[in-house]
Every structure is written in structure tokens, then in C-alpha cells.
């Protein structure tokens, strides 16, 4: 039997979290090193899975299946396809870098890392699950630690409000999708939660049209789809750095991914019927998010709203239901994940030193924090879709995909967002890192430590690497897209 890579990846963070909880509160160093070790192991394993995935063959690989509750057709069923394998890697990357960035947490680090790792297990679990019940199980596990992480270690001013808002939004979405999933379970007649079986069930078009919206939108809430995006900027801003990274970087993909896997892949007819609506909502996300981001003065809110805009592109790509759009969406999920993780890491570094995120009050940070500045510049270039960076590789196919649909004119409107994005990210780069440094900061900005540097370099490497050599990711996603297109009946 083959080594059970996926279940090990899923349970390593959980095990590490539980081990950490048994430490004494004073053992802060041991807690950090254990966390780092677990993060690196998970990263190494997800790299292995990524490169060992046979993209020429495609389909679901690394399949593991154990009985969980056979009476109801529930099993512990792991497996990845071309769509999810980059996301597993993404989670590994963000988890490892998140631990490095959080090295300086002094308030109850034991609980912090334990909750963060429970969250990470939930995320890995969703990306690797091939069972609908299991998907919900891990999805909820990914949601509730968020509340505590934000409420306890978040930004004092808004943490209680933002944490509760976020948790309730996400919970509402997921439980509504849950009812949809239960209805699917009984209607299919197969009495199984196995996604591979449910994929082959042909639900009646009427049924699909009725249940597509609750299921898709229920998950898409976590993807930040308009008009349910409201929790996301507040949540990102209130969260501590590592949690913002996790949240914008990975958790929003969780919503998008679940919406794709359960909504579009199980109810393709419903997806076709509702695609124009989803595209319209995503268009609002893209344009509105970009405009709102451009008028923010809080550094972190800029990034928060830019995530709303970029996740709109992912949803847009899904809703095109064609090869280009889906391919772009798959790449965008990864690209945006590392990009936004980097953004939030930089924001955290600046805030920890300047104790303000008000853009007009900042300036000249490039001198004390050169690497953070370079990181932000690279992130900005990715974010505006500059060729040579991963953002371009992802966004270009999405626009091409929109062009091939009946709503081709949406591409024109969505393109406005690129201009707006370019304007605000460059403005932020200039105001925060260049210009004259305010006097009160002179000599008070200590350099970043080696862990921060490693994290930044790692994240940048992905953005540039995929930008220069798209073949490092594109074939993977493409193999996943082919499977989806087959389910859609070759649109």
C-alpha cells in the first residue's frame, strides 16, 4: 500500500495542535519550534504531493478511502485532482509562512498555534476530501477557530465585532449549503455522500435549478461574493497577521473551491442556468471592490477590499464555465493566495513597527525594511496582472474566458478594475515605502528577522516562478478543468 500522504497532511497540523496544547504555558519557545516543524513537514509533504501528481493522467489521485459510517454512506475519502492539488500546496505554503510571521506572538502562543493548526487541518481536509459529509465536517472545523483567533489576538478596536460577523456569515452560508447537500443525498437515490458517485448522478434540471443557488452561494459567502462579502474586509483587518494571511490567502479559496466542487460539479445544469447571475455578481465584486479599495486610507483595508475584487475574478472564471475561464480561476486561486498572504505579511511587519496603518502617516519604509518593500512591489505587480508575474498568468485566461461567453461585454467592464488596481497599489507602495519618513519613526523601525525574510522570499518565489514559467502550474489546473468540462457536458 502506498504511503497515505493526504491523510498525513490533513492530520499533521491537528496532531501538532494537540501536542502543543499539552505544553506548559511558559514553554513559549518549544511551542514555536514545534509549530514550525509541523508547518515545514506539511509544506514538504504538500510539495511532494504536488510534484508526484501525474498531470498527464489527471483525475483524482492519492485516493484513500476508509469507512466512517457505512450505514449512511459516509466515508473518510481523500483524493486530489488538478484543481485541488495547487490549493493543498498553497495551504502548506501559507501555513509554514504564517508560523514564521507569527514568531513574535507573546500572548498565549500555545493557544494561538493550537487554534491556527486546527484551522489548517480543516482547510487541508476540505481540499482533499472526496466525500460530501467530510467536506462539511472539515469546512466547519476551518470556520470556528477563526472566531477565537480574531477575537483574542486581533486588532483591539474591532476584533469582537468583526470576529462575530465573520463567523456568523460563514456559518449561515455553510448550513444553508448543508441543507442543499442533504437534499441531494436523498434525491440521488444513491444513499452515499461520495462525491465521485454523486458526480455521476444526473439530477433533473428542475432540481438543479432549485438547489444550485443555495448550495453555490452558501459556499461562495466564504469566497467573498457580492453581496455577502461584507464580513471579509472587516475580518481581515481585525485579524492578527498570520490569521489574515490564512484567511484571505486560503480560507476564501476554501469557499470558492467548495462552491465549485459541490455547486458547479454536482449541479452542472443549475450552473448553466444561473451562470449569468453569478457573472453579474462577480462583476460587481471585481469593479466595486477595486473602487472601494482605492479610497481606503487604512493600509489593511486596501488589501482587504482588493481581495474582494480579486476573488470576484475567481468567481467570474468559474461562471464562464469554459476552459479558459476555469483555468484562469484555478490559477488565480493560487496566485491570489500567495499574493495576499504576502500583502498581509508586509502590512503586519509595518504595523508592528509603526503602530499605525494609516497610509498618510507612513512613509520611507524602504530604508529600514527593504525586503518588505520589495515584497510589496512584487505583490503589487502580481495584483495588477503584470506579465511575468503569476497574476498575469491567471487573469489573462479569465478575461479570455469571459470574452467567449454571451456576456462578453463584461470583460470590458471588468478590465476597468485592472487600471484601478494598478493605481491604488502603486499609490500605496509609494506612500508607505517611499517619500520622506515621518520624524517620529526615525530610528524606531527595527529590521525584520530571519523568519520574516524567509517567509517573504518563499512567497515571492512562487509569484515570480509561476509568472515566468507558467508550466509549473498550468498543466495541473488544466487537467482538473478537463474533468469539470466533462461534467458540464463539453460546453
Amino acid at each position: 500500500m502506498q504511503f497515505p500522504f493526504l491523510s498525513v497532511i490533513v492530520f499533521i497540523p491537528l496532531a501538532a495542535g494537540l501536542i502543543i496544547l499539552t505544553y506548559k504555558p511558559e514553554w513559549k519557545k518549544a511551542v514555536r519550534w514545534t509549530a514550525l516543524a509541523a508547518g515545514l513537514i506539511a509544506l514538504a509533504l504538500s510539495f511532494w504531493v504536488y510534484f508526484a501528481y501525474d498531470k498527464a493522467v489527471g483525475g483524482y489521485q492519492f485516493i484513500e478511502k476508509y469507512d466512517w459510517l457505512p450505514a449512511l454512506g459516509i466515508s473518510l475519502h481523500f483524493g486530489v485532482d488538478g484543481m485541488s492539488v495547487p490549493l493543498v500546496l498553497l495551504t502548506g505554503v501559507v501555513m509554514a509562512t504564517g508560523v514564521m510571521i507569527s514568531w513574535g506572538i507573546e500572548d498565549r502562543p500555545r493557544e494561538f498555534f493550537a487554534f491556527l493548526f486546527i484551522l489548517a487541518s480543516g482547510v487541508f481536509g476540505v481540499f482533499a476530501s472526496l466525500d460530501l459529509f467530510m467536506l462539511f465536517f472539515f469546512y466547519e472545523i476551518a470556520v470556528f477557530p477563526m472566531y477565537l483567533l480574531i477575537a483574542i489576538w486581533g486588532w483591539v478596536k474591532t476584533r469582537e465585532y468583526a470576529a462575530m460577523k465573520l463567523t456568523l456569515y460563514l456559518f449561515v452560508g455553510s448550513v444553508i449549503a448543508l441543507v442543499g447537500a442533504l437534499v441531494m443525498y436523498f434525491t440521488s437515490g444513491a444513499r452515499t455522500f461520495d462525491l465521485l458517485v454523486l458526480e455521476t448522478v444526473k439530477f433533473t434540471p428542475e432540481f438543479q435549478k432549485t438547489w444550485f443557488l443555495p448550495v453555490f452561494l452558501g459556499f461562495a459567502v466564504l469566497g467573498g461574493i457580492f453581496p455577502f462579502h461584507n464580513w471579509s474586509p472587516d475580518g481581515h483587518v481585525a485579524a492578527p497577521t498570520a490569521v489574515s494571511m490564512f484567511h484571505a490567502g486560503v480560507l476564501m479559496k476554501l469557499g470558492a473551491f467548495a462552491a465549485l466542487r459541490v455547486g458547479i460539479m454536482l449541479l452542472p445544469e443549475g450552473a448553466k442556468f444561473w451562470a449569468p447571475l453569478i457573472m453579474s455578481l462577480a462583476l460587481v465584486n471585481i469593479v466595486y471592490g477595486a473602487f472601494i479599495a482605492s479610497v481606503q486610507t487604512d493600509f489593511k483595508y486596501v488589501i482587504g477590499f482588493s481581495s474582494v475584487s480579486h476573488m470576484g475574478l475567481v468567481m467570474m472564471g468559474f461562471a464562464t464555465l469554459n476552459q479558459d475561464g476555469l483555468l484562469g480561476a484555478g490559477l488565480q486561486m493560487f496566485s491570489h493566495g500567495v499574493m495576499t498572504a504576502l500583502f498581509f505579511a508586509v502590512v503586519g511587519m509595518v504595523y508592528d513597527r509603526a503602530h499605525t496603518r494609516d497610509i498618510p502617516k507612513l512613509g520611507g519604509m524602504i530604508k529600514p525594511l527593504p525586503l518588505a518593500g520589495i515584497g510589496l512591489i512584487v505583490g503589487s505587480l502580481v495584483s495588477m496582472g503584470m506579465p511575468g508575474f503569476s497574476g498575469f498568468v491567471a487573469e489573462f485566461p479569465i478575461f479570455r474566458g469571459i470574452w467567449h461567453t454571451d456576456l462578453w461585454w463584461m470583460a470590458l467592464i471588468a478590465a476597468i478594475s485592472i487600471v484601478v488596481t494598478a493605481s491604488y497599489v502603486l499609490l500605496v507602495v509609494r506612500r508607505v515605502f517611499f517619500g520622506k519618513m515621518p520624524e517620529e519613526f526615525e530610528g524606531h523601525i527595527p529590521p525584520i528577522n530571519v523568519f520574516d525574510k524567509t517567509a517573504l522570499v518563499l512567497l515571492m518565489a512562487f509569484m515570480i516562478g509561476i509568472g515566468l514559467i507558467p508550466a509549473l502550474m498550468e498543466p495541473w489546473v488544466l487537467s482538473g478543468v478537463r474533468h469539470i468540462l466533462a461534467l458540464l457536458g463539453g460546453v
Partner: protein
């Protein structure tokens, strides 16, 4: 031997009660000997549990003792959980100053458990009524056990008045049933109920009202918050778990055995009752500032979730109710256990008493997190699976709207459970010197907390076998 088996757990309970009485005068009432009676009771209950599991498992469902008792899987499953809940409660008693040294407290606990066990397997109206009273009267006394505390006396008195009223209503329903049919056996009654629709409606209405009180369902829930708040906390925990589960055991048996013909018409009414119970419980819980009152309202709403499974009225539905109750008993016992510990140390059950708990005693805070998130229905805790089954059963019987009401309600629940955790994890004590105010946990209570927390996690992840038990038990109803 076969003659004893159906009431084997009850015989052991009776023996345990007598032993407690005999031992009491010999145990010195000084501090050193204090824990003896508690350990003895808990151990005795666990021995009874083990022996029953080994020796007295039911085979085919059978009516015994002239139709008084039905010896079947459902009754047995519930009995085992009553024994478990009583053992845990006995451990919690040991920390409560006024209860710990009083043999009466343990005796009453055992007597109430005896009554509940009989409730779970009673198959005759007379037996049913007697067992309900056997279970209730010790609980009235226990609720009012703190003689110096006005709140406790109020709780005991209120519980008794409401309980007596409910018993009267129930008895009236029983007498109607007997008067029209001349039968007292539940399974014999069933044969007559197809013909008399008006009678069936009247009887069902009265019986339902009486049992709604027991499980604190809307609109007979008013006693619960006052009684839970006033009663000693471990007693409140026992009331909200075992006593409620016993009520549900009777409800399940009555609805499957006696009223199947009526059920079609009553399902809608039960569904509305479930909706109101969930919603009212949850909405009022939002406004609470006292943890015990919050748990009281939350336990009302949980009765509503469990009712969803009864409404579904299928084998899956009954399985889901049984599983839900198992989950709920574990979870709520833990919640009340933690509340008892904190209440004893801080002298208050207000939310503010929980400020900084995670810094004062991190493992205890974690236990509270487990209990509250399980109540909110979050995985990997058992509450998630329990809710999942109930909703699954509802959708299976085409009650999609009821499942929607249920999930929306669980969102409200999540809000107020998280709200309490905010005090535990986020807020700090005045002066921010939590290190100087530790929350010590005595050994028996720590044992109980660990067992419950591990149980919640274990049932929440490895739920296969437990679902199997619940399924086998529910199957014996049909």
C-alpha cells in the same frame, strides 16, 4: 435468572440506594472522610452499568411482568445513559459543599435514576405514571436541597408545582384512554386508537402537554430557567440531561407504539411545536447574562432540535433522536460541570465571573470551549453529528422547511455560545492579575470533566459504532 433481567439495572440501583443508607451512619462526617459517599455512589453506579452491559442485554423485544415493562433495546440504551449521567453527577456532587456530605443527596439521585430507568421501559399507563413520579419527586427535593438559599427553595417549590400540574394533565389523558378502551397496556391501547379519532386527539393532546413539561418544550418551558438557576448546579445539570432524555424516551415510545395512526395529523403540530421550542429558547437565550439561565434556554432549544427527529417519524428519525440525546447528555453535563466549578470558586454565575478563565485555568477553559462548541453544533464535537443526523432525518421525511428552521436556529445558538466564550478567552479580570486567582479543580470533578470532554470528541469523530447502537435501539420501537 431470566425473570430478573429486564429490571436488573433497577435492582442494582435499589441495592445501591439501600447500601448508601446503611453506610451513612458509619461514615464520619469530618473533612477527611468527606469524599467517601460520593466515590461510593459513582463507583456503585458504574458497577451497575458494567454488570448490566455484561449480563442483562435484551435480545428480542418482549413484554414482561404482565405487560408492565417492555424489555427492549431502546429502554436499555437509555438506562445505560442514565446510569452514566448519574455517576458523573455524583462526582460533581462531591464538590458542592451542601451536597457532598449528605447521604440523602446521593440516595435521592439514585432514586431518581431508578425512576427514569423504569420510565424508559414502561409499557403500561400505570407503570409509566408511577415511574414518572418516582423520577420526579426526588428531583423536586434535590432542586430545593439548599435550605439556606431562597433561590434553591424557590426552584424546588416551583418545580414541584409545575410538575404536579403536568402530572395531573398527564393522568387525565391516561384516564381518558383507559376509560374509552378499558386497556392500560400501551401496546394493547394501540389497537383501539385507529377508531376513535376524537378520543385519540384528546388523549394525544393531554399526554403531549404532560410530556412537553418533562422535556421543557414550548409552551411548557417556563419552569426551566428559574429551576435551573436556583437548583444546585450539578442537580440542574442532571435535570437538563437525564430527566429530559427520560421524557423523550417516553415520548418516542408513545408516538411509535400508541399513536402511529394519529401521527400523520400530529406531525404538523409537532413540527410547529419543535419550531417554536427552538426559536423561543434561542431568542430568549440571546438576552441572558447568567450562564445557568443561558444554559436553561439553550436546553429548551435543544429539546426543539430533538423534536425534529420525532417529527420525521421514521426509523432514521428515532435513531437521530436517540443519538441526539446521547450527544446532548454528554455535552450538557460537561457544560453544567464547568459552570459548577466556576460558580463555586467565584460565587457567581454571571458572565462576568468568567472573565479571564483561560488564564486562570487553561484546561478548564478548553473543556468549556469543547462543551459550548458542541452545543453549538461544531465539528469535531458530537453536537455537530447529532444535529446533522436530525436534519438528515428531517430531509429524508420531506420536512425540508423544518431542517431550514433548524439550521437557522443553530446560527442563533452559535452567536450566544461564542458570546460566552468571549468572556472566557478574551476579557480579563479587574486588575489583570489572573495568576493570583487560580481556579482549582478537585480530583473527582477533574475525572468527570476529562471523561466527558474525551467522550464528546470521541463520539464526534468515531461516531460509527454509536450510531449503530442508536439504530439498533430505535429499531426495537417499530
Amino acid at each position: 435468572m431470566n425473570f430478573v433481567l429486564p429490571i436488573f439495572p433497577e435492582i442494582l440501583l435499589l441495592a445501591l440506594g439501600v447500601l448508601i443508607l446503611i453506610l451513612d451512619p458509619f461514615v464520619k462526617r469530618d473533612e477527611a472522610r468527606r469524599p467517601f459517599l460520593g466515590w461510593f455512589t459513582a463507583a456503585g453506579l458504574l458497577v451497575a452499568l458494567t454488570l448490566s452491559l455484561l449480563l442483562a442485554r435484551p435480545a428480542e423485544p418482549a413484554l414482561v411482568y404482565g405487560g408492565m415493562i417492555r424489555f427492549d433495546g431502546l429502554g436499555f440504551l437509555f438506562k445505560m445513559f442514565f446510569l452514566f449521567a448519574a455517576a458523573v453527577t455524583a462526582l460533581f456532587f462531591m464538590d458542592e459543599e451542601k451536597l457532598a456530605r449528605r447521604a440523602e443527596a446521593y440516595l435521592l439521585l439514585v432514586a431518581a435514576t431508578l425512576g427514569m430507568s423504569l420510565m424508559a421501559s414502561a409499557a403500561d399507563l400505570v407503570m409509566l405514571y408511577l415511574s414518572i413520579e418516582t423520577a420526579s419527586i426526588p428531583l423536586y427535593v434535590l432542586a430545593g436541597f439548599m435550605k439556606e438559599d431562597d433561590k434553591s427553595i424557590e426552584a424546588g417549590f416551583k418545580y414541584m408545582l409545575f410538575g404536579a400540574m403536568a402530572s395531573a394533565v398527564l393522568l387525565y389523558g391516561f384516564s381518558l384512554a383507559y376509560g374509552f378502551t378499558g386497556e392500560t397496556g400501551l401496546y394493547a391501547l394501540a389497537l383501539h386508537f385507529g377508531d376513535f379519532n376524537l378520543l385519540a386527539a384528546g388523549v394525544t393532546f393531554l399526554v403531549l402537554a404532560g410530556l412537553a413539561f418533562k422535556v421543557s418544550a414550548f409552551p411548557f418551558h417556563f419552569w426551566a430557567p428559574d429551576v435551573y438557576q436556583g437548583a444546585p448546579t450539578p442537580v440542574a445539570g442532571f435535570l437538563s440531561t437525564a430527566s429530559k432524555a427520560a421524557g423523550f424516551a417516553v415520548l418516542m415510545r408513545l408516538f411509535t407504539a400508541v399513536f402511529p395512526a394519529v401521527n400523520a395529523d400530529w406531525s404538523l403540530i409537532l413540527a410547529i411545536l419543535a419550531t417554536l421550542t427552538m426559536t423561543v429558547g434561542n431568542l430568549i437565550a440571546l438576552a441572558q447574562k447568567n450562564v445557568k439561565r443561558l444554559l436553561a434556554y439553550s436546553s429548551i432549544s435543544h429539546a426543539g432540535y430533538a423534536l425534529i427527529g420525532v417529527v420525521a417519524f421514521s426509523q432514521l428519525g428515532m435513531t437521530s433522536v436517540a443519538f441526539y440525546l446521547i450527544a446532548y447528555v454528554l455535552t450538557n453535563l460537561l457544560a453544567f460541570g464547568v459552570v459548577a466549578i466556576v460558580g463555586r470558586v467565584t460565587g457567581s454565575d454571571e458572565f462576568s465571573a468568567y472573565n479571564g478563565l483561560s488564564r486562570r485555568n487553561a484546561p478548564l477553559a478548553l473543556a468549556m470551549l469543547v462543551a459550548f462548541l458542541s452545543l453549538a453544533g461544531m465539528p469535531p464535537f458530537v453536537g455537530f453529528i447529532a444535529k446533522f443526523y436530525v436534519f438528515l432525518a428531517a430531509v429524508n421525511s420531506n420536512w425540508v422547511w423544518l431542517a431550514f428552521v433548524g439550521v437557522l436556529n443553530s446560527i442563533v445558538g452559535l452567536y450566544y455560545y461564542l458570546n460566552v466564550l468571549k468572556y472566557v478567552y478574551l476579557f480579563r479580570m479587574e486588575g489583570e492579575d489572573e495568576e493570583k486567582h487560580p481556579v482549582p479543580v478537585s480530583r473527582p470533578v477533574a475525572a468527570a470533566v476529562v471523561v466527558l470532554a474525551v467522550g464528546i470528541l470521541l463520539l464526534g469523530t468515531l461516531f460509527g459504532p454509536w450510531f449503530g447502537f442508536a439504530e439498533q435501539a430505535a429499531a426495537t420501537l417499530f
